[in-house]
Symmetry: C2
Subunit: 110 residues, 2 copies
DNA sequence: ATATTCAATCGCAATATTGCGATTGAATAA
DNA sequence: TTATTCAATCGCAATATTGCGATTGAATAT
């Protein structure tokens, strides 16, 4: 490859990139929306709602969890997933910062 | 691979995923921040600011442009890049919708 | 004409990702 | 015990991505 040169970027830029990468897949967006709607889900619920195989959903859940965006707690036989409130809020704030830092100097942008 | 099953997701989910994917790289976050700060940049400016090769910057600019997040206008010898205001606003709104749709039912999330 | 100076594209090697079937593991049910 | 039912992991084939050197192309200098 060309390994991404993380060392030349700030921690914030690297963290933000990792979390956005985790969200940047339609299946994971759908999973997050379903988790928000239902408040909490086990893997099987999501397999039922979306049209993907159990192994695939499980992989996506793992990636979202690795990025810290969701949490999973064992609930009897199942693992119950839900949004990780702190990370969610942090990401929301950081994105808000990025997006609102742009004030269109309208007509003469270029 | 397993080709992403775009057909089972909504257009909004697919569009959002594509645009987030474009942002989900520290170099591209840095490029966007620099474009916002400077209002507009040519490729060479960014090569100077970030520590990446010209070819690499050019690739990243292309991806951001493909995603519709930036626009490039020819300015004499150079191409001048800046944020595409409409897409930027749209993405901001969609992200805001996604993030604010979550109201933490706090303690008993899982 | 030749050199310079940009941005864009090509080509490539080194991974990373995606989706899924198959397997494993853990917990309960019969 | 044996069967069932979950989630997680492994392994794999088919791409996709990343970074960069090298090349190309276009525009201006000398």
């Amino acid at each position: 490859m060309g390994i991404t040169k993380t060392e030349i970027f700030t921690d914030e830029q690297n963290r933000l990139a990792i979390q956005l990468k985790a969200i940047a897949h339609p299946a994971r967006i759908a999973i997050l929306q379903e988790l928000i709607k239902a408040n909490a889900c086990v893997c099987g619920d999501l397999v039922g709602e979306l049209g993907l195989a159990q192994a695939t959903i499980s992989q996506h859940l793992k990636e979202l969890k690795n990025a810290g965006l969701i949490q999973g707690t064992i609930e009897g036989v199942n693992v119950c997933y839900c949004i990780e409130p702190t990370a969610w809020k942090n990401l929301q704030d950081e994105l808000n910062g990025l997006f609102s830092s742009y004030q269109c100097g309208n007509q003469n942008c270029c």
